[in-house]
Amino acid sequence: METVTTQDITVNDLDFIIHYNPDICIMCGSCVAQCSFNAIEVAPQVRKHEPTQEGAKQGHKKKILFVIRQKTDLAHACVGCGMCVKVCPNQALSIEANPESRKNLLARTQGVIKRGGRASSYSLRTLDKIMVGRISQMTDPALDSERHTFDLRAPLGRILKAQDLPLKVDGQSLSLEKNCPPVRWIYPLLFSDMSIGAISTRAWEAIALACAYLNEECHLPVRMCSGEGGMPLKLLKSEQLKYMLLQIGSGHFGWNRIIKSLPLMRTDPAGIIIKIGQGAKPGDGGLLPKKKVAPHIQAIRGVPETALHSPPTHQGLYSIEESVQKMHLSLNAAFGFRVPVVIKCAASLTSVAVYNNLLRDPYHISGGFFLDGLQGGTGAACEISLEHTGHPIVSKLRDCYLTSVAQGLQGQIPLWVGGGVGLTGQAAADCFKLICLGANGVFVGKILLQLLGCVGDEHGRCNQCNTGKCPTGICTQDPRLIKRLDIDRGAEAIVNYVLTFDSELKKLLAPIGNSSLPVGRSDALITSDYAVAQKLGIAYAC
């Protein structure tokens, strides 16, 4: 029997198998040249030779051919990004996901696996089990989504109880006796926090451009979060700052620069977001690998070239609660109490307690509770955190909303949720259902990257955002790769998607007869999953 070195790794052990058709390959080499993961190479291949008469005389039975070959070592394993397929003029390559892959196991012999993307726990998606089931038929008229005026705005900022508003009756009108906490009235879809650094300047610019266009040309007050690490001074000083939420993460990167530019700001930002945790990797802190800390990132963040870790919590004072309280207070003060300060946490079994703390806070310092569920994406995380930590967003949102209802405090700290919104491509449906369950709005990140061209998914494709080798130029600082991203086309795709989102949201509002957002209208939803119905308090239908 033939001997085999069984412990050698072959393509069958990898996540993706490349099929190559030498008959149509013209050996242009484009696929090899472009593969940022160096997963394929040109290699000689020995073939059986059908000899000519002359060749036969000379005894030639074999010949050498050059082919495109997949590398089999783990460091250069194909990630299935498909760029080689895109670049091949003759469609000589195709890629197949390998259900028999052993890579997950074998890679762990080389240390903790790090990657980007989101968890693969796709089967946990509750939103797909929920339908909009309360359709206006005879009892009340459905609206016409094309004809009626819809009022799709969501609050961002601390809202006071009506009886606590500083209003004075002045004849037939009410007048305001003193200022109230700032509240923005914005579109219920917010572009989530992805920093310049985690994503390329071009990708960030494309998103920012889309955001500005949606505001200025489409009159949709969409807001965008900067992500940790700050933003270019030029933008901090521009009018467009009003579309931005500035993020302060646990590494506090970029804040020196932001604070110093306060006197130069022409307008206030939309908000400040204190990031405690991220749904994709709760408790895992942030990580920007050294490879991605390019000179311009060093400049924006004010750091040397080194891997940048944001600790799992905001460090410092007596407790995290105290530290968050102090941060809220000082940030409120720094911006003259004109800018809502909100907090973002990973969804967790403890979220209700956190939300209660904020709701009951006597100083009214928190202007929003952003809850991030486990299907959110990340630029870099340990796979173990990605796959095994976190909490689904749906029931946690509902728990938080209902705890506020039980205390008559609903709506006072707007609930914004994310983490897998739009995972199936249909963000409007997700958004609508989450709003009915009590959210004021949703935030999205991963789908924006996907609209820019990211090919990563929850079935293991690509997700190499941590490597600095992003094949689409989105999650890298490598100038050659960045150039692959066409900013205008990317921004246009995002704008068009949001416009479709807007129309689709109206398409869901119209049949339930509502022209403004049905926050907490759980009576509009049904599910055929009894356990889901019980947990969320919505109607069971079968």
Binding site: M138, D140, K161, S175, V183, W185, V405, N514, S515, G520
Partner: protein
Amino acid sequence: MCRIGAIKSTTPFSPKIALELMLPQQEGHDNSGFALVMQDLAGAFVHYKDKPLLSMACTDKGIQLVNAYMEQHGFVQLAQWVPDVCKNQNLNIRAMPRYVFRTYDLPEIYQYRSQAAREDFLLDSRLELRELLSVDNNGYVYSFWPDVLTLKEIGDPYDIATYFHLWDDDSRLLAKNIVVQCRQNTNYDIVRYAAHPFFIQGYTLCANGENTFFTKNMELQKSLHRGYIGFESDSQTFLYSLHYVLHELKWPINYFKHVITPLLPEEAQERPDAKVLALIRKSLANLEINGPNTIIAMLPDSTLVSVCDAKKLRPVVIGRDKNLVAISSEVCGLNAILPHRNLSEDIYTTERELITINNALEVKRWKQ
């Protein structure tokens, strides 16, 4: 859906007029019930206008329970009107064994208390009586308030009127204001408490339509006031919002319109009080109504109010002559009681106005 109406007159009139207003609109409802609230009474209660009047329907056991309660809490009964009922078996009415309309003197200690304390005491007493009678279905307490009488029953409005002899002007049951409803209750169980008009502390309200924001409204209202209970009908929430804005927050009435049908942000921005409107909208987002609804309300001073939803999906019309103003779901009702009125003076309440009618029959149209 229901048909609703209200009549205000400078001279007291009998419920017969209200029936004449409602019966032509029969095609719009299913004759499943009839209810009215009368305010500023004449007739049997004319000398007791400042004394709380208890309106309820109950069993014999219910009467005993109420008598014991009232005695125990120091109420002294003054006048009562016991309707002379027609026991004809062919009438379509699900009558209760007893109907009670009585005025009381407040317990002595309340003679010295503030108006607010008296109002709260009356509310609490009604809530306790309601609770007391709810055990074993012993009865229903509709209102307990000076100068206000409520009658509700399940059945055909025509037959209900016959049962209570409302067709005869016996001059014992007269008022200057009546808010009235004939109902079709397709959505929910036909229960007495679900029949409008609803009442709390001098505020009366009935509504036509479907409250699509019922869940949102109710979830907030449950925590706003102990009197906001029941929710047997999705329209009850409008009464509680009215009471909350006017009685609890003490805001001027135009803000009720701002609360229930807020302006679009871009419209509100143009207003001098833009900041106030923005604050109200955000703080009371849960009291917004977003369905097709028309509301008719009556305030403690007997002012009638008419408002519609922001899309004006449910119409309402107001007609008048010199001595009487009526609000009606359908114009055929007005034609029945005001056949000679000047039709060009009819008002169809728009989606952006709030209309009030005071006791001098002045109609004020306030544009939002």
